[in-house]
Every structure is written in C-alpha cells, then in structure tokens.
C-alpha cells in the first residue's frame, strides 16, 4: 500500500499541527472479536503457541481481574470492558529489516520518525503496532556481547528460564486490577537482558502505536540489568484520535542487580481518547541505580506511578515526572519510593502543568521500611496552573517506620503571573510565546537531564500543547 493510504484526521481540528493524529488503513492478519472472557484468553494463548504455564498464568489473572473492584481513587474510568478489542495481530511475522514490514505500517513508523532515529542514535528498536511487535533490531556488537532485546512473546519461547525467574515477580497478578488485566491478555512489549558489566552507550527504544478504534494494548515489559551493567531504555507511544475510548494497560518490571544502572524514559503522547492505566516497578539491589523519567502529555486519563524498591544497601532510586494536562485530560501521575534496606537514597521530582480545564494530580509514596536506617528520601513536586479553569492536586503519602532517616518533602503550586507575562511581552514576545517560554522554563530542570534528542522532542510536544493557548 502506498503512503496516500495514511489518512490525516482532521475531525479534531488539529489534524494540521498534530503529526501523530493519523489513521493507517491496514489488513490485520487476525482480529479477535470484541470483549473479554476465558475464550478470548485461550485464543490469544493458542495463537502464540504458549506453554501451559503461561496459559494457566493468564486464566488465573482473568479471575483476579474480574474479582477486583475498580479503584475508587484517581480518575474516573468510564470504560465498557466488553466493547474493546483485546487482540489484533497486524502482520504474519516480525520484520528484521524495515523492508520486511508491510508498506503501510512501515510508512506509519516513518512518519513517526523511528527508522531515522534508529539510524542516528539508537542501539536497537522495537516497534509495536496494535498487539504485536512488528519490527525489531539490535546492533550486532551488542548481540555478540550477549545482550538480549526481543519482544516478550519471543522470550517466552527462547529464554524460558530467564523469563520465568522474574516474570510477574516484581508486579504480581494480584497487585491491582489493571496489572491482573494485563497478566490475562498481555501481548508484545520488550524483554531485555544486559549481561554482567556490559554498558550500552546508546538507548534502546520501543515505540508503541495504537491504530484501531476501541483497541486495547497490553504490552508486557521485563528488563534485567545484571551486575555492573548499564542501559537506557526509551519508550514512545501515540495513537490517532477517535470519538470512543481505547485502553492502554501495560506492566513493566525492572530488575537492576548490584552496581547496575538503568534509566527508563517514557514520552507518553497517547491521543486524548485513551485510558492509560499502567503499572511500573523496579527492584534495585546493592549500590544499583534505577531512574524513571516519566513524561505524560497525552491520554484522556493516565494513572501511573513508577516505583523503585531499594532492596539492598546503597541502592538509589530517582524518579522525574512531568505531566501536562490539557482540555479534557486528567493526569494522575506520580511516583513511589520504597526503602527496604539501610543507606538507600531516593528522590522524586515532579512537575505538572494544567491548562484549558485540564487536571494534573501528583500522587506519590515515600516509604521507609523497618531496618532501612540511614536512608535519605527527598520529594519535590511543583505545579503550574495556566488558567482559572484548570486544576492541580497533590496527594503525597509518607510512611516512615524507622528512626534515623532523612525525609524531605516540598510542594509548590503557582499560576503564570500577570507580571511575568507583562515582562516578557514588554520585550516583544507575544502572549502565547511568553506563556510557552514560562512553561518551558518551569520544566527546564527536568528536560536538561534528558539526552538531547528527547529533550528536543519533549519541548516540541509542549510547544504543541501550548499552541492556541491564549484566546
């Protein structure tokens, strides 16, 4: 199919400026009927030729999902679970080169800039379209060093022991309703293993694309960073805008062993009809460092609180969270730090912006377990509200079960001030340009932590959100 089959969506009136908002005409290989029950789960498992243990894992998770009530906190979830496609297989098999990928899907990712980024600065790429990873690459020298970067379905077949040792151990099925849902119907996602002492210089990137209306995407990611190893994993996600809701519910588990280092960066830019309900948790062992950089700009409702459990002395957890809530959006984002061993260090920095009636909430936990003496934990959350219609809330939970620890919490809420706007406009900036400048300044301390390419991307997305901000 040719590039002309990609339809720019202008129903939303933003088709011209939002390069992510386009639909791809595809011919999926297999599309399960809408709805969720045991048959669907069995069908997904059978299509993937899974071992019995995985089918059992899924069926158990389905029961847990149905048995758990909807969360009564966070955002409002008005979702009909029977009106969603739980599995769509877009292609027969995963491509090893972009030429192996069907033209219309390749074109989709070209538009999103993935092959170009891959050529310029990435160590490897996974591209997921609907339920399956349709393209995967990894630099040869890394493969030779024993690095594994594959989709999780392949890992079930090819690395069963390594996968089973950790799969569902960091985030058990029973953890929450949406972790259970993912466990029942998961498909795709990344499986990464970085062997002892191997340091990967350039990021590994995964890109998730939802194309179909009423789609549910449930990727499952597991990252194991062995002793002294190092990796930066980046994920991006987009979808076209539809009038009815779609669901994205991922589970991400990360293990960073002694002296290892993992940075996990997310730039979430889902369309504003998507519920983004994700569970992310990492275990960091002795002197290991785990960093989450979590940017939430899209979705209708996001509920996501990346966690670091510091399991052994010297472990370090850092979470940077950026949320932008525009019209019709609720970003219930945050972070969790759990100090389970002595002399561990944790830091949360959260910056949220709300605009045009958007709602941004910070929800976070800082917990020091008994025995975690000498631990340090610092939480800073700042909110910027751009107009009177918008809202910001802070829900910080602090649980300290040990003496001799250091806990810091600071929070601020500010509005774009008339004096700041006047100062900038008196220097020739239009009001819109001045607002954008103030917002970019607000998140600058976080953006400067990102590699240049992602900092540019994030600034561009903020720019997009700010366009037309002044009536």
């Amino acid at each position: 199919m040719a590039a002309t089959d990609v339809i720019v969506n202008d129903e939303t009136g933003v088709g011209e400026i939002n390069k992510y908002d386009f639909r791809t005409e595809t011919h999926s290989v297999f599309k399960a009927r809408k709805g969720l029950d045991e048959d669907i789960v069995r069908q997904i498992s059978a299509l993937k030729n899974e071992p019995k243990w995985m089918l059992d894992f899924r069926l158990h998770a389905l029961k847990v999902f149905f048995s758990k009530p909807m969360p009564k906190w966070g955002g409002e979830i008005n979702l009909d679970f029977q009106d969603i496609y739980y599995y769509i297989k877009p292609t027969e098999q995963q491509g090893r080169t972009w030429d192996d990928v069907p033209a219309e899907i390749k074109d989709t990712f070209e538009k999103l800039g993935i092959p170009e980024a891959e050529r310029k600065y990435l160590s490897g790429v996974k591209a997921q379209f609907e339920s399956e990873v349709i393209y995967g690459s990894l630099k040869e020298d890394l493969a030779e060093k024993g690095v594994i970067f594959t989709d999780t379905d392949t890992a079930v077949r090819e690395y069963p022991e390594l996968l089973r040792e950790h799969f569902g151990k960091i985030i058990p099925t029973e953890d929450n309703k949406f972790a259970a849902l993912n466990s029942a119907v998961w498909s795709g996602g990344s499986f990464i293993y970085v062997p002892k002492g191997v340091k990967i210089d350039f990021p590994l990137q995964a890109y998730f694309r939802i194309n179909e209306e009423n789609m549910g995407q449930f990727e499952r990611t597991l990252i194991i960073v062995d002793e002294g190893a190092q990796v930066h994993y980046v994920e991006g996600c987009t979808a076209p805008m539809y009038t009815s809701e779609s669901l994205h519910s991922a589970v991400v588990e990360v293990i960073v062993k002694r002296n290892g280092r993992c940075r996990y960066t997310t730039i979430q830019n889902w369309a504003n009809n998507i519920y983004n309900l994700v569970t992310k948790r990492a275990y960091a062992y002795g002197d290991a460092v785990m960093e989450w950089v979590d940017g939430n700009l899209g979705s209708q409702l996001t509920m996501k609180y990346p966690a670091v459990h510091m399991m052994e002395p010297g472990a370090r957890g850092e979470i940077l969270s950026i949320a932008f809530a525009n019209k019709g959006q609720h970003q219930d984002a945050g972070a969790k730090l759990v100090h389970q061993a002595p002399n561990t260090t944790g830091q949360i920095i959260s910056k949220s912006i709300s605009k045009n009636g958007g709602r941004a909430s910070y929800r976070g936990l800082a917990r020091v377990e008994k025995g975690a003496v000498g631990s340090k934990c610092s939480v800073v959350c700042d909110a910027l509200i751009l107009d009177d219609a918008s809202r910001s809330d802070t829900y910080p939970y602090i649980e300290v079960l040990e003496q001799d620890v250091s806990i810091g919490h600071e929070a601020s809420v500010s509005r774009i001030g008339e004096e700041q706007l006047f100062y900038l406009t008196s220097r020739g900036m239009s009001e819109a340009e001045a607002s954008t400048m103030i917002v970019n300044g607000f998140i600058e301390p976080l953006v400067k932590e990102l590699p240049m390419e992602y900092a540019v991307e994030l600034n561009r997305l903020i720019q997009l959100q700010m366009e037309g901000s002044v009536g």
């Binding site: 001030g417 006047f422 900038l424 008196s426 220097r427 900036m429 239009s430 400048m437 970019n440």
Partner: protein, 272 residues
Amino acid sequence: MSETLEIIDLFVEVEGKPILRGVTLTIRRGETHALMGPNGSGKSTLGLVLMGHPKYTVTSGDILLNGQSILEASPDERARAGLFLAFQRPVAIPGVKMADFLRHAATNVRNPERKEGEDLMPMKEFRQELRAKMAQLKMDPDFARRYVNDGFSGGEMKRAEILQLAMLQPKFAILDETDSGLDADAVRLASQSIAEIGGAKMGLLIITHHDKLLEHNPPQYTHVIMGGRIVETGGRELADELHRNGYQRVRDEHPEAAAMNDTNTKPEAVTA
C-alpha cells in the same frame, strides 16, 4: 523628520483609583528627559502605562508614537514599535536562560512581523553580538547562561535591564529607577553604560531620585511630577536643585498637587 513619543493629557486609574491626572509630555528621539518626583507621584505608573501594563486603565488622553496612537496596542506590539521600559523591579522567569530570552526578544523587535514559531535570528550572529555587548558592559559571559532575574542581586537585575536595552536598541526608552538599590560606583557604571550603548541616540525618559545616573546622560529637560501631574519643567539645573534640596520648594509652590500626592501615599492607597 524627527521621531516623537507624545503623552497628551493622560489620565490613568488603577483599580478605580486615579493616579495620573493629566500628564502631557513630548520626547523627541535624541533627547534625554529626567522625570523626578516624590514617592507616590505617579512616576512608575507613567512608565508602566506607556508600556501597556494591563492593570492600568487610561481614562482619557492619548499616547502617540510618531503620531500614531498606541493606546490599543499590546505590550509586545509597543516593544516591536520601538518602546522599551527598564523595570524598577524586574520579575524572575525561572528556567529561562538570559541568552534564550534575549534571542527571542531581539528577533521579535528587529522583525516586528515575526509570528510565534518562526525562525529566530541566527545563533552565531546572535552570540557574537551578545558577547560583544556583554564585554562592553563588563559583564561575566556566564551571565547569559543564568535564568532571567532568578536569584539576581539588585545590581545584577539593573545590569540585566541595561543589557536588554543594549540588545534591543529601542527608539524610546523609559528607565525606571535604574539606579535604585545600587551603590555609588554601580550607579556610575550604569550611567556610563547607558551612554556607551547609545542612549543619546534614543529618546530617553530617566526616572530617578538622584543625579548620579544623569552624570553621563545629561538631560535637556527635567520634569517634576507631583500628585499625578507634571508641575514644573526645567533644564539640567532643576535636577541638580531637587537632588540638593529635595521637593519642599516645589511642594510650597504647588500646594494642591502636594496635597494630592499625600492622598496617593496614604497607607490604603495603591503605591504608584
């Protein structure tokens, strides 16, 4: 034809309280005017209203830039038309680097038709110019990497304002107490700097309590504002006299304006 900034019988209120009560003043490009007056006389208000601060309402009168009324123009349109206000108390913009801010400002002022998102002036050209201007003002190059007015000392803020004046080269500039909070040496440096960056080519309205800032920028005219009206206009010698003797003589000669001024400075009044 000389360029002019004309203030015609201007009445201004803030939150319903009258502050300016009929100010008339014409500045030609190339002239320097000193504006002096006691606290609460309306000096800063005049600067802010010329720049288009949304809090101030013009109830009658007009402001003309080269014959065109700018009352309806937004602050950015006024800046692009060649007007500049050096703030008495500039606000901080955390996270925005001086260099980025100046590059946006300079681009917009030099290319008044520019829309948001269109190209900025070339980085190389901008950097060279900024470096040269900062060297001229004896400023540390690191200054360009700091966030706008964030954590600046009083002196640094005033120097940052002068740097902006140097980069933007406006047709008309109002300097609102660019000497306040500075020690004698710093004021002398500021005065020198304004002269060096070509202050004499602009039309300058220098609002000040002292004569030090005027040292290198001798005014052709000195105006005394009291109770929201210009009550006296003279030459350089008037500035010297006021600096030496204060405002008592002027108060005695204009009891009505003095009484009005006292009303403005009562605790419940808005300070102007």
